[in-house]
Symmetry: C2
């Protein structure tokens, strides 16, 4: 049993049952996102041995706020007592967690203080504002962001809700896998053989690994080669505490969290890395064939499923692919989506 190392000594049931309990709490507050399939992409994913591979895409790009993050944020708030929420919540994030916390807090009538680096993409700032987030800008580095956040936290006594290294966040994100497995069964009459989940901070991956434990579904991780701290950590058994990366998969630039790594190391079978070109090709394929918008981070698991390394691994059958989000900055991405 993995113990929570959270400084606030939160006790949480870090098991499959814990994810089920989280789901009961958040189910009515988040979207049940669709599970889609694509005959043509499944055909491409089938190897030269012609043993059929069928991909089931869990579309968290259609989630509230455009990413899975609302699940963890909602769960974290649900687990706090009203008096713990009365001064609001705070986080620092330039990405999907900021929007998610703003939405989850608004749903509970609670203030959300969001520290964003001053170089954040305008659409993300606008979105966070439109959800009612109270934004403070900071310098771009992690330490600058943390300093500003800590200053506001002291002043307001708001509760810090971290983006991934937290048991309640992990359990909330794990509900993605529960839904995926259930929908694949009920809607398609298929049993999953494996799932491929992207890993950045590891909230989603650790949660899905807990949720899959005991189900017989094999759990694999997908990481950009340019931000391969989880891959290297799994090789050595020691978590890499930092990663400096400019991968286009901007949601995966963070190092895996402490609690996250402990769970991932125990329950995840293997991490696969992919190149920037493979990520972009997978993203383009989804936009073109499935007509849905996914962000680069969300394309990483499909990039794995289409890679030769994966095909050599010989995992066949029904493969779940988690599309983690769809928040793209069209201004920045427009140059990237051109074929090289």
């Amino acid at each position: 049993m993995i113990q929570s190392r959270d400084p606030e000594s939160i006790t949480a049931d870090l098991t499959q049952q814990g994810v089920e309990s989280a789901y009961a709490l958040i189910k009515s507050k988040v979207k049940e996102t669709p599970v889609l399939t694509s005959e043509s992409i499944s055909t491409i994913a089938t190897g030269s041995d012609n043993v059929p591979t069928k991909l089931f895409f869990k579309c968290e790009n259609f989630q509230k706020g455009g990413a899975f993050k609302i699940r963890g944020a909602t769960h974290a708030l649900e687990k706090l007592r009203p008096e713990e929420l009365e001064n609001g919540v705070i986080t620092h994030s330039s990405g999907n967690h900021a929007q998610a916390l703003a939405i989850a807090a608004a749903a509970k009538g609670v203030k959300a203080y969001i520290v964003m680096p001053s170089n954040s993409a305008p659409p993300k700032v606008e979105a966070t504002q439109s959800y009612g987030g109270i934004i403070t800008f900071s310098g771009p580095t992690a330490s600058e962001r943390e300093y500003v956040a800590e200053t506001i936290r002291k002043k307001t006594n708001a509760r810090l809700i971290p983006p991934y290294d937290h048991p309640h966040i992990i359990l909330g994100q794990g509900t993605v896998f529960l839904e995926l497995m259930l929908q694949t069964d009920v809607e398609y009459g298929c049993k999953l053989d494996a799932v491929i989940v992207p890993v950045g901070g590891g909230g989603l991956l650790a949660g899905c690994a807990l949720a899959a434990h005991g189900t017989g579904v094999r759990v694999f991780a997908a990481e950009p080669a340019l931000a391969d701290d989880c891959f290297r950590g799994m090789e050595t058994g020691i978590r890499e505490p930092s990663v400096t990366s400019s991968t286009i998969a901007d949601g995966l630039r963070t190092p895996v969290g402490v609690l996250n790594f402990a769970i991932i190391h125990k329950y995840v079978e293997k991490v696969f890395t992919v190149s920037e070109e493979e990520i972009l090709a997978a993203m383009r394929l989804v936009w073109e064939r499935m007509k849905i918008v996914i962000e680069p981070s969300a394309a990483v698991p499909l990039a794995v499923a289409l890679s030769e390394r994966w095909k050599r691994e010989g995992v066949k059958g029904n493969i779940g692919i988690v599309f983690s989000g769809g928040n793209v900055d069209l201004d920045k991405i427009s140059d990237l989506i051109k074929r090289s």
Copy 2:
């Protein structure tokens, strides 16, 4: 009663009932595409008078072949006798009709000869090929395409299936409206007040107008200002036989067909035109907020719904918006989606 002016003197029931009959024939052969909503886009569409507008998006971008065209093509083939199909079918198109006919023909085990201009976008050529279409390239002008098509038709005795100016095509495309109305009712418990449909050759618009006749749903058309032959024809009552346009809405560059115009003139309430900037802004909004890929032509009705001209018209309530397709050439579109 509008008479078919088709040279082959096809008799067709150009009425609401005719569309219902077409639907019975093609229902099992095409996709029932989803009807989606977007709270944030509906809010933007609501005017300063705050009388609520709710938009219902019929997502034919998720249709087989990525556009509504498969409906008309399938219907046209269903209406032919086996002996009329034995030499295959032929069309000339650089766009969605080519792919649709290739798919519909393959489903019936019939050869599809497709004449495409040699400057067609590679993804469209690849897609048409992947569906089994037998491609012949021609020069880029309409007369060059027609000449090559006629040469092949004479040689093969294949049956010509035109893209829009044909009663069976019109009736097939009209099934888009039937589904939209039914789904809005069953899935959302709402009755449509109006629908906005894009117009190029007018197959989709004429079909939807027939399908809506007698239902009480008002039918409006959306056209790029740069290709406003339908708008001008409605003003004068005389069809404009040609249009030269470089609108980004490449599916709407054709003049309205003869039969199509007769139906549109009788049943469509009004045509609204929008600028290239309005089309792009609407397309970006859908990609960003709804996380789905629509092509520029498909964004034209939403561009109308967001325009001041439309808001001044005072059409309120539940508005159907037809997203006609999602086939974009990411290489070409990437420069366009950057904010100006």
